[in-house]
């Protein structure tokens, strides 16, 4: 397979006509959720399936990646840690604060945290950022995938408390969880309005992009904190 750099620490592997997104495995030999491991010239890569990860879908839909090797990341809605493990691959010398609300899914994520030194698990409610404010430091990137009706305001309160000036918020808005009966486009507009049209929110839309065909009725959004 031929390896190409897609973004910093994110790669694409070319096999014939097929192209896969991948990250370099932080813990060689270990897979996290049954994903394919591929060995190419001394390095091991983990295939990153866009249908299973909103972040992967966002990257493939050409939303910019703000992650660097040393990024500090606050990850809201980490679930069982599939996407978190790829973020942990990308920010090899950084830190991922992974917030998840459900004890049941957190139980599945703990083994991932134990293998990877840069993931810090927080079993907490993302809509109450003050409950983890005594642990989390100011971060470069906030990624949010929480599927809650008040997604935008959850993102906003975390951005205000934790995002460094010049940092980025990446979120995937799931229209079906905000309002199952309204038209997705209406929901997206209303959520973006909550996010961007606050007084002194200092947020600026960089790019938005629907995540179809990987995820139906999802909108990927990248927002920058200006000052």
């Amino acid at each position: 397979m031929k390896v190409k750099i897609f973004h910093e620490n994110i790669f694409t592997l070319q096999q014939g006509k097929k192209r896969f997104l991948a990250t370099r495995n932080l813990t060689p030999g270990l897979e996290v959720y049954g994903e394919r491991l591929v060995q190419v010239d001394e390095a091991e890569y983990r295939i990153w399936e866009p249908k299973r990860s909103k972040l992967a879908a966002m990257l493939l839909k050409k939303l910019p990646s703000p992650f660097t090797t040393t990024s500090k990341v606050l990850y809201l809605g980490s679930a069982t840690g599939t996407t978190v493990s790829h973020v942990s691959d990308i920010v090899q010398q950084g830190v991922v604060y992974a917030v998840e609300f459900s004890p049941r899914t957190m139980r599945d994520m703990l083994p991932v945290c134990e293998e990877r030194a840069n993931i810090i698990p927080l079993l907490a409610d993302a809509s109450k950022p003050q409950s983890y404010a005594n642990v989390v430091e100011p971060v470069d990137v906030i990624f949010q995938d929480v599927a809650q009706p008040n997604q935008a305001s959850i993102a906003l309160s975390n951005v205000q408390h934790f995002l460094k000036p010049g940092g980025y918020l990446l979120m995937s808005i799931k229209a079906r969880s905000v309002d199952s009966t309204a038209k997705p486009d209406t929901v997206f507009k209303q959520q973006l309005k909550t996010l961007l049209e606050q007084d002194n929110s200092k947020l600026e839309l960089v790019k938005k992009q629907k995540l179809a065909p990987f995820h139906i009725d999802h909108l990927g959004v990248v927002v920058k904190k200006t000052e």
Partner: protein
């Protein structure tokens, strides 16, 4: 302000005025973290950098040590929190789900036994649990005891002949099925017993089975008690509800609570009113159960009065 590793006083210029770092004991730190999480106060301001301050305070000597200790602490805290997150109603939820699984499996097996044994002795005329018990006890029709009431019909049966080997197989199959039915009864009485302890009011109004099912569908007694009664009324009628919300149908009158005799045995004309009265009574009962846990007979009495007035009004 309070951070996970120390209580810190900060000067106006941002330097550390006073700091008393905790010891590096992971379990102690984890407990401290959980206390804050449950009741956050004196939280650090935005843009406060705990990593720098931890080094300034002398809690750790460098970043690597800080992150390693933080990770260990957070993992320990998460473990503790997961361990404490299991509620007693989880046992009931699993029991109800086990009951559903048994039903599904038992129906499938009973159907098979009915067809299989029916080839041999179609005149037996029994179904499901009775048939399973009968076959498990007696086996083939030529093995029936002398005093059996089926002796006569067995002799003149039009069914296919089976030999001892067939008999052994079908008898064992029926025994397995029969023990599945027994297990079902055991689980049912387990649910009844536990419902009386866990949610006495709900048990009184809804009955043990329906009550347990409501708890299981809501995901716990606490979450059931937080539901509005209109949600309880249509819980289990999801398809109909969403069809209604999309504007394509009338609103559903009842979901899982249809199984309550009050609704099932009522005339369709008053089922809507009954469902509303029952649902509101259920939601009150679940709230009393979730927050006091003592039986309050008034709830059931009020429902009975309401039911009477609905029936009167209908006449």
């Amino acid at each position: 302000m309070k951070t996970w590793f120390a209580d810190i006083e900060i000067n106006e210029d941002g330097s550390v005025a006073e700091c008393s770092p905790c010891t590096q004991d992971v379990q102690q730190l984890a407990k401290r973290l959980l206390v804050f999480q449950a009741d956050p106060k004196q939280i650090p301001l935005a843009s406060f950098d705990p990593v720098k301050k931890a080094i300034e305070c002398g809690f750790v000597s460098g970043k690597t040590e800080y992150y390693s200790l933080l990770q260990q602490t957070c993992i320990a805290a998460t473990r503790l929190k997961i361990k404490n997150s299991y509620s007693p109603d989880l046992r009931i939820i699993h029991a109800v789900e086990a009951l559903d699984d048994i039903d599904e499996a038992a129906n499938l097996l009973a159907e098979r036994l009915g067809i299989w044994y029916g080839e041999h002795f179609p005149e037996a005329g029994m179904l499901t649990e009775n048939l399973a018990k009968f076959v498990a006890e007696n086996g083939l029709r030529q093995d029936l005891p002398q005093d059996s009431q089926f002796r006569e019909t067995a002799l003149s049966s039009v069914g296919m002949e089976m030999d001892a080997e067939d008999g052994a197989i079908i008898k064992a199959f029926a025994a397995d099925l029969s023990s599945l039915y027994e297990r079902r009864h055991v689980i049912e009485s387990y649910i009844r017993k536990n419902m009386e302890q866990l949610a006495p009011n709900l048990e009184k109004v809804a009955g043990a089975n329906l009550g347990a099912r409501l708890i299981s569908m809501a995901g716990g007694l606490q979450s059931l008690s937080r539901m509005p009664s209109s949600t309880i009324q249509v819980m289990g009628a999801n398809q109909a509800l969403f069809k209604h919300l999309r504007g394509k149908a009338t609103s559903p009158k009842h979901g899982i609570i249809f199984n309550h005799p009050l609704i099932k045995n009522s005339h369709p004309k008053i089922r809507g009113k009954m469902a509303r009265a029952l649902a509101s009574s259920l939601s009150i009962a679940s709230r009393v159960d979730a927050f006091s846990g003592r039986l309050n007979p008034v709830i059931k009495e009020k429902l009975d009065r309401k039911v009477l007035s609905i029936k009167e009004g209908d006449k």
